[in-house]
């Protein structure tokens, strides 16, 4: 589905990704883990078009993504839920979700159905549908960000640190939801600092260190390895 090969990217004079290659197959949940500054967010941003790679390819369902504008990539069916939630503070919950439908063709009935699905998944959002974004709690904002990505019925979901800043109980709920979404058929590429959680939801994982993939294996295998722990805590 998604094939990333030899990706090199960075910001200005700083090169963050030196050589990243990974694959996400149909229906898979894949985790991308690693210490801070390893380049996990940059990888997602390079895929969704916010950062233009300097070398390498990103192929999605056969098309090359490198060089396309982010809005075009979104319309191809890739939903990137960015780090830090980034919901529109002045828009209501419903309006936020509606913006999510921009990536998807379809009529009003289609859109309302998509919104209804998200409300089913996150009843709290349904309760607050006319509240402005800034007034939601951290957990609700994360739900909204996720829902907003889902509303376009994406063919691939990119999640950037969904657990960031959330209380532990909410984190567990969030990941249960992510598991459910993936089980329903949407492939997910999950970037997380919280390695254990990510590896429990995903089937496979990649460990990123200083802009390179240093380990690639099934999630179970990775979770058992000592050097994963070392990469995080300095063995």
């Amino acid at each position: 589905m998604l094939e990333v090969a030899g990706l090199r990217a960075g910001y200005g004079a700083v090169e963050v990704l030196h050589d990243v290659s990974l694959v996400v197959g149909a229906g898979e949940a894949v985790a991308l883990i690693g210490a801070n500054g390893a380049g996990k967010s940059t990888t997602l941003r390079a895929i969704s078009g916010l950062v233009r790679p300097r070398a390498g390819t990103v192929r999605f369902a056969g098309s090359e993504l490198v060089g396309r504008a982010p809005e075009a990539i979104a319309r191809l069916g890739i939903a990137h839920v960015p780090e830090g939630r980034r919901i529109f503070p002045g828009l209501t919950v419903r309006e936020n979700l509606l913006v999510g439908t921009a990536a998807r063709a379809g009529d009003a009935g289609d859109r309302e159905a998509a919104l209804a699905e998200v409300y089913r998944l996150f009843p709290r959002l349904a309760e607050r549908r006319h509240q402005r974004g800034w007034s939601l709690s951290g957990g609700e904002q994360q739900m909204l960000a996720l829902g907003r990505g889902l509303v376009a019925r994406p063919r691939l979901l990119l999640l950037d640190e969904p657990s960031l800043g959330l209380a532990p109980r909410l984190v567990r709920e969030m990941f249960e939801t992510i598991r459910a979404i993936n089980a329903a058929g949407t492939p997910v590429l999950l970037v997380e600092q919280n390695a254990y959680l990510a590896l429990q939801v995903a089937r496979r994982g990649y460990v990123l260190e200083s802009g390179r993939v240093v380990l690639a294996d099934t999630a179970e295998a990775l979770a058992r390895r000592d050097d994963v722990r070392a990469a995080y805590l300095g063995g």
Partner: protein, 588 residues
């Protein structure tokens, strides 16, 4: 420097020879006016060019200077020179008053506030007919006299204006070349970083405003006397727009920029006069085109194309100790920094929650935690960038809460930034020297004349070079900081912070983006700092780095301390493991 001085002498000589060319009256008048506009633009250059502030009040001061001289001389109250002196003093006073509230305004608001000042001045001058004679204007303003001789006739006016303009431009040059010029440049390129390196940005901005007011007032007074008639309409938005456009096109921040700009302001309408009806149209289009193509202005472009950055004369070779001793060595084990019950709230978000920790003198103390744990917030509070909601921060017995960042730096706390904030257009050496200024003793008067400033600069430079050499950057000392490789930039930030002679050095992710070899070298250098009585507080994500370097580590999560102790103890602490790696999901 030699080339610059020669160029200036040639220019001055050429300018002095102009009246001998036998030009007609009209052109001479234009040239005289040109000097006035060069002065006005040079004043504006202090606020926009040097300080980088969109402070547009110079037109108002221009008007006040003109009316001050005009009214005082026609009213028989004072002769030209005393009237000019009074006007300048008055305008500087007004600038200091205006400066108090405007210094904290951001770009848009600053521009609007100063624009309103100009409009209010103009409107008051128009409406207060009793004093200013309103739109009728002030007529018959007498010329100045030099040594008893009235300045009449083209020759005398020309030379008087040339002398005044040359003197004031020379002063502007001296200020720009002094350590204040470096401080201005630093503030312009990275205000927060400059403040953190000990630069008092409030004072600098006020200085720029006062200088711009003084120059504008002189220009105004001369203008009044030169044209013998002034009225409020002249000091309108068009004039403001013209000075803004001309300075930007000429090249803000340089010395010659105002000259090009001021002359352009005077002569452009003349040159375009042939195009008659379309000239203003061409003017407008020209502005848009020029600013799009040359954001740095004409002089800036020439500088980039032609000359190399001015290299300060190499000092006599002196063996300098890499790090001057940072004050007395505190006995090890005594807390240098004590943080109690620190709480920082941003609206509803609690970034730091009741944090207690202490950093012992002469140690290397690590501060770690997952993303969003509050580590950088703690450093920002320590260095005065944020004000805590509650709690205390005490350095060697002195509370740091409520102090401006530059004051905290002068008390001995320095820092580096998580995202590099160097002064990119300044050389590596200049970056370090700006920070070294925080212990300088010369004042602005020294910058104008005398040897003291030069001696001080040589000493600063020697110290800076030694610091750079100590961190292995001496080969790139004269290159612009923005052109250094990432690893070198991180080291440069450290060198810069060390130049402030800190007792406590806070490093925010110093190892980010460094290669393995660079990290090892950095660990070694930082350990050496400990021998120099510099205490370190290090925030980092790179675990091997932190474990190797630190004596004690405090671990934060959600703004609270969850563990503290030696590296080995912390690494095996269950709470720390959970914070970083997470814990197993409930089996569904």
């Amino acid at each position: 420097m030699r080339a610059g001085r020669l160029g200036a002498a040639v220019g001055l000589g050429a300018a002095a020879a102009v009246p001998l060319l036998g030009l007609d009256r009209y052109t001479m008048r234009l040239l005289d006016l040109g000097f006035v506009f060069v002065l006005l633009t040079a004043g504006f250059n202090f606020t926009l060019g040097y300080a980088g502030q969109l402070s547009l009040a110079h037109v108002g001061f221009f008007a006040l200077g003109a009316y001050g001289v005009g009214l005082l001389t026609t009213g028989g109250v004072a002769g030209f020179w005393p009237a000019l002196g009074l006007s300048v003093a008055g305008c500087v006073g007004a600038a200091l008053v205006l400066g108090v509230p405007t210094v904290k305004l951001r770009t848009h608001y600053l521009a609007l506030a100063t624009l309103s000042f100009d409009e209010i001045v103009r409107l008051v001058l128009t409406s207060w007919k009793a004093v200013t004679r309103g739109t009728d204007g002030v007529l018959g303003i007498p010329p100045p006299s030099l040594l008893g001789w009235p300045v009449r006739g083209d020759g005398r006016w020309y030379y008087l204006l040339l002398a005044v303009t040359a003197a004031l431009l020379w002063l502007a040059h001296r200020i720009g070349a002094s350590r204040w010029g470096a401080a201005f440049a630093a503030m312009r390129q990275a205000e927060v970083a400059a403040e953190a390196m000990g630069v008092d940005t409030v004072r600098l901005k006020t200085l720029a405003l006062a200088l711009s007011a003084a120059y504008a007032a002189v220009a105004g007074g001369l203008y009044a006397s030169l044209s013998t008639f002034i009225s409020p309409e002249f000091f309108n938005i068009d004039l403001l727009v013209s000075t803004l456009a001309m300075l930007l096109i000429g090249g803000a921040g340089t010395v010659l920029g105002p000259v090009v700009g001021g002359l352009g302001l005077t002569f452009l309408p003349e040159w375009l006069r042939g195009v008659e009806r379309y000239y203003m149209l061409a003017y407008g289009l020209g502005i848009v085109a020029l600013i799009t193509l040359f954001p740095a202005g004409i002089v800036g472009l020439a500088a980039r194309l032609g000359r190399r950055p001015a290299v300060l004369a190499a000092p006599a070779a002196r063996i300098v100790e890499p790090l001057p001793p940072a004050g007395s060595v505190a006995p090890a084990g005594v807390p240098l920094l004590a943080v109690r019950a620190l709480t920082v709230r941003f609206g509803g978000l609690v970034a730091v929650d009741g944090l207690d920790f202490a950093v012992e003198a002469g140690r290397v103390h690590g501060l770690i935690g997952p993303n969003g744990a509050g580590k950088t917030t703690v450093i920002n509070v320590l260095t005065g960038l944020y004000r805590p909601t509650a709690g205390s921060v005490v350095l060697g017995g002195r509370s740091l809460v409520g102090l401006a960042p530059h004051a905290v730096t002068r008390l001995g706390v320095a820092r580096t930034f998580q995202t590099i904030r160097l002064f990119p257009a300044m050389s590596a050496l200049a970056n370090v020297m700006v920070a070294g200024q925080c212990h300088a003793t010369t004042h602005l008067g020294h910058a104008v004349a005398g040897r003291a400033a030069r001696r001080e600069r040589e000493a600063l430079e020697a110290e800076a070079r030694a610091l750079l050499a100590w961190l292995g950057l001496d080969a790139r000392a004269d290159d612009p900081a923005g052109s250094l490789a990432h690893g070198q930039q991180r080291l440069l930030e450290i060198a810069r912070a060390l130049a402030t002679r800190p007792r406590l050095l806070c490093l925010d992710e110093p190892a980010a983006g460094l290669t393995h070899g660079e990290r090892a070298a950095l660990v070694e250098r930082l350990r050496a700092l400990r021998e120099r009585a510099v205490t370190l507080l290090v925030v980092e994500h790179n675990m091997p780095f932190i474990m190797q370097l630190c004596d004690t580590i405090t671990v934060l999560d959600f703004g609270r301390k969850i563990a503290e102790g030696s590296p080995a103890a912390v690494r095996d602490d269950a709470a720390v493991v959970e914070a970083y790696l997470g814990s197993p999901l409930a089996r569904a």
